[in-house]
């Protein structure tokens, strides 16, 4: 089953390109470390999932590119074509001339309705190219105007037009110290609207990825391209083909469905975080070896202590012992704050995956009490190594990972809203103060729900 990707705005298109690039380069990788038969199976699944066949033989990404100004899309299309290994369908894009001016209301209330038909036609065409459609993957930032505002509108349209397909929104959380001044407003509006129509939101934070680039990848002058490539690697490590159940003989046909089933048991809880280890520069890869126990131990602690990468993990944080009361969440000693999960998914790729012991993740202390720990934890694996990493483990988690982030962004947005700054820019395009209040209410609800886990 195939996934159709919708790339929205500058960020969405820049990242989307890197994702397809990473997937394609993994496809061609000669370091698969598995049997030829396995590799072929993997490649076939990958191709069906992300690319469609064209007469020229060059795989065409299953994607629709949307932006309100032309520069980024034209760059993206030409970069893909130049790679020689894959390309976009040059008909599958839509752009305008003026951009959304970082204005969510402009993206949502003006551009969205105006171009709805054209964009949905493009999506329909891509969906029809698929033998079977697993669902949609949208890539967007929250801080700008197109990705965020128009992205929210398009997600709604997707939900209306494809009520039985899965929709996963890949959302980029902006740097804390502004890229865009009204980013907090745009983010609050986006999150609250996506919550209504999306099945799950998979979040990547610019700050966290930036740190990974600086500390783990050792990049001196970090560019957005570097950041996007790390994000692409992380996404590829989750969405490339895997066997999603023990004893499965075929690569999973429904990755998005499996994901939702494993991780989103309740519609109030849709925020997913992603961690991937190991992560390092290509030069260092050749000199490093990893053991599964080591990787799993780190990954588990990253989950418990809400660490964003494998360095600087706080090993003091422990899950509460059974029978002992859970310490109050508003504990002043924030360092010992333990991250409670609703559900977790671990994806393992590479050498000796069959032998990995994941008992640590089945510990009931990690989870809330609603789900049976056996149901709350799922594993996907494949012996086929990913992107030159001999062993690679990823964690997709529906937990309190994003609680502090959400609280922060809502706090800052509320602070600005109280002084009514910039509100006239939104009312100009039809988003009124009541709409803002509704969004704040929705998000306070989500924050409250996650906090009380």
């Amino acid at each position: 089953m195939s996934i159709v990707t919708v790339q929205l705005g500058q960020c969405g298109n820049q990242i989307g390109y890197e994702v397809f690039n990473a997937i394609c380069s993994d496809f061609h990788s000669t370091h698969g470390l598995c049997s030829k038969k396995e590799n072929e199976s993997y490649q076939e699944a990958c191709k069906e999932r992300f690319f469609s066949e064209e007469k020229t033989g060059v795989p065409v990404a299953r994607a629709v590119l949307v932006d309100m100004e032309p520069k980024v899309i034209s760059q993206t299309l030409s970069m893909a074509a130049r790679s020689g290994h894959w390309k976009y369908d040059h008909q599958s894009h839509f752009c305008q001339k003026q951009g959304s001016g970082n204005n969510w209301a402009n993206g949502y209330s003006v551009h969205g309705p105006r171009y709805r038909e054209v964009i949905m036609n493009l999506v329909q065409k891509e969906a029809e190219k698929c033998d079977r459609l697993s669902g949609f993957f949208t890539v967007m930032s929250m801080a700008g105007g197109t990705g965020s505002g128009m992205g929210a509108f398009v997600t709604q349209c997707l939900r209306d037009a494809f009520p039985t397909s899965f929709i996963l929104n890949q959302v980029i959380w902006p740097y804390g110290t502004g890229e865009v001044i009204v980013q907090n407003y745009n983010s609050v509006l986006t999150l609250s609207h996506l919550y209504q129509s999306s099945d799950a939101l998979l979040v990547h934070e610019n700050d966290a990825i930036h740190k990974i680039c600086a500390q783990l990848m050792n990049i001196k002058k970090i560019s957005f391209r570097d950041v996007n490539q790390v994000i692409a690697h992380q996404l590829g490590s989750v969405f490339q083909p895997t066997y999603s159940s023990e004893g499965a003989s075929q690569y999973s046909k429904s990755p998005l469905g499996d994901l939702m089933e494993s991780l989103v048991p309740h519609p109030e809880f849709k925020m997913l975080g992603l961690r991937n280890i190991p992560q390092m520069s290509e030069n260092s890869l050749a000199y490093s070896t990893f053991t599964w126990p080591g990787l799993i131990k780190h990954l588990r602690q990253m989950l418990i202590a809400n660490a964003k990468m494998e360095e600087g993990i706080d090993w003091q944080v422990r899950p509460p012992l059974p029978g002992h009361p859970v310490p109050p969440k508003a504990s002043p000693n924030k360092a010992l704050h333990f991250n409670t999960s609703i559900a977790n998914l671990v994806v393992l790729r590479g050498k000796d995956v069959q032998s990995v012991d994941l008992g640590g993740f089945r510990d009931p202390a990690l989870y809330t009490s609603w789900l049976n720990p056996q149901e709350a934890f799922n594993i996907w694996k494949t012996p086929r190594a990913f992107n030159k990493y001999e062993k690679s483990a990823s964690l997709v988690s529906n937990s309190q990972f994003l609680l502090k982030l959400m609280d922060n962004i809502v706090g800052k947005a509320w602070n600005m809203f109280a002084s009514k700054a910039y509100v006239h820019q939104y009312t100009k395009f039809g988003i009124e103060e009541e709409d803002f209040l509704d969004c704040f209410t929705t998000l306070e609800q989500v924050i409250s729900s996650y906090a009380s886990l």
Binding site: Q10, Q14, E69, P70, K71, V72, Q75, K97, Q98, G99, S100, G101, N102, N103, G145, Y175, G176, T177, G178, E179, V180, I181, V182, H210, C213, A214, I219, K220, K221, I222, S223, F224, R225, V227, V410, G411, K412, W414, N415, M416, A418, S419, K420, A421, Y422, H424, Q425, F440, T441, E444, Q445, S448, S452
Partner: protein, 475 residues
């Protein structure tokens, strides 16, 4: 890609405008080696086939035939515009893009605004329509004028009104040159305050400029390049004030160096909209992010670096210096010190070989020394454009919505009141049809209100921060 139209009004406006077009051509020539008319060029220029004489059709793709500026040149006396049309830039302008008269406005805002405004309104609208028709997607009008005279100030603000009436969806960015204290036009305070009211009400964004600041920047550059310390290692065409490499080859006129700075300001402002980058910043984003309340739309600008040394490898220390300089009061284009006043918002548009990590590092470094308003503690808007300006490997334009504009306005108000209390020269204005005493009182009241808004914001500076309490959700 969008287009912008430049409206240069009055002597000052036209002289700055002239430098702008010259430097714009220079910039595009440096980037566009193949002579193909591309999207970047189309933002400010039309490509016209003039082989059969007269006004040929617009050519949207392919080779460059003849570039015509998307501009309107307006002046109520002919001297300046005629000089432009006889100078090396004559082919860039279309005779149909001019509106001139003979006698000038006598440094009288009322003559410019009421008399000529009325007289030329239809003319202006017709020419604007023609220019707009040549645009695929018109995004912005740039008005360039001075505040102290009669034409730029009066007719310039009249045109601003027309733009709002006829093209309400198109952004209006105004570059205004404010008079200094020792301005030799006695009535410049009147003209400026009357114009301010129009700017308050009809402009989306105003970039105030003061001649004193331009002059000190020019002196600084002059000093650095001629002092012998750096001398020969400075790249001539990198000077913010230089016309080197442009069409103009004759002797530089006295205001050219200063006007080049303003021209560079406009080029840098629009660079991200014209050229590609990893984080684009379009003109509509500038207005969106930097104007938190409709009337507070005055942006203090600074450009760095002022010149480039010929060293090819620029260590990042020098890059960091560029960021520090952008916040120093010596680099601002008005007499203001943003570091010691309150920031409402700040935008940094970086051009050239600078990445997001450099940007972040510098923001982190400079943030502690700057005061931001309580509801916008992280009020930064950033843009990265890959194409540097001519002669530089990187450059930075900082736009600040900062209460440091207040002194400029309060001084203007004081100078106005000095004259107004004695009713000096008032009769020159009042005898113009349409002018009444109330025009003056409304104008000064508008200015006072604006100053008061800045005062209230300043009062919050340094006050203990109390965040408003959040919504409580019943579980």
């Amino acid at each position: 890609m969008t287009q912008s139209v430049v409206l240069q009004v009055g002597q000052c406006g036209n002289q700055i405008g002239c430098r702008f077009w010259d430097l714009a051509l220079r910039e595009h020539a440096a980037v566009n080696k193949k002579g193909i008319y591309d999207e970047a060029l189309s933002s400010f220029f039309r490509n016209v086939d003039t082989r059969n004489g007269g006004d040929g059709a617009d050519i949207h793709k392919g080779k460059i035939f003849s570039l015509k500026a998307r501009a309107l040149l307006i002046d109520m006396e002919e001297g300046v515009v005629n000089e432009i049309l006889q100078g090396p830039l004559r082919d860039v302008f279309d005779s149909k893009q001019l509106i001139t008269d003979v006698s000038g406005s006598g440094n009288n805002w009322a003559v410019g605004h009421k008399l000529y405004g009325c007289q030329y309104r239809e003319h202006i609208v017709e020419k604007l329509r023609r220019t707009a028709e040549h645009c695929d997607c018109l995004q912005c009008f740039f008005v360039i004028h001075s505040m102290g005279g009669g034409t730029g100030s009066g007719l310039g603000t009249f045109v601003l009104n027309v733009l709002e009436d006829e093209f309400p969806e198109v952004y209006r960015f105004v570059t205004s040159v404010y008079p200094s204290g020792e301005d030799d036009v006695i009535t410049s305070p009147y003209n400026s305050v009357l114009a301010m009211k129009e700017l308050n009400e009809h402009a989306d964004c105003v970039l105030p400029i003061e001649n004193e600041s331009l002059f000190s920047i020019v002196s600084k550059i002059h000093q650095m390049t001629n002092s012998g310390k750096l001398g020969s290692t400075v790249k001539q065409n990198s000077l913010l004030t230089s016309s080197a490499g442009s069409i103009k080859t004759e002797q530089e006129k006295p205001f050219d160096a200063m006007n080049n700075i303003v021209a560079n300001l406009l080029l840098n402002l629009t660079s991200s909209a014209r050229f590609e980058g990893s984080l684009n910043m379009d003109l509509n984003e500038i207005s969106m992010n930097l104007v938190p309340f409709p009337r507070l739309h005055y942006l203090v600008s600074s450009l760095t670096p002022l010149y480039t040394l010929a060293d090819v490898n620029v260590p990042s220390r020098r890059l960091d210096q560029m960021f520090s300089d952008a916040f120093s009061k010596d680099h601002q284009l008005i007499q203001a010190d943003p570091k010691h006043s309150l920031y409402l918002a700040c935008a940094l548009l970086v051009r050239g070989n600078v990445q997001v990590s450099d940007l972040r590092r510098n923001i982190e470094r400079l943030k502690p020394s700057l005061h931001f308003v309580s509801w916008n503690q992280e009020g930064w808007k950033t843009g990265l454009c890959s194409v540097p300006p001519v002669g530089h490997s990187h450059s930075l334009l900082a736009l600040a919505n900062n209460t440091c504009v207040k002194p400029t306005f309060t001084e203007l108000k004081d100078r106005f009141m000095k004259l107004y209390k004695k009713k000096a020269h008032l009769h020159h204005y009042l005898h113009i049809d349409g002018m009444e005493q109330s025009c003056f009182s409304e104008a000064i009241s508008s200015l006072s209100d604006l100053i008061e808004e800045y005062n209230q914001l300043d009062a919050t500076k340094g006050a203990p921060r109390t965040d408003p309490s959040r919504l409580k959700i019943a579980m």
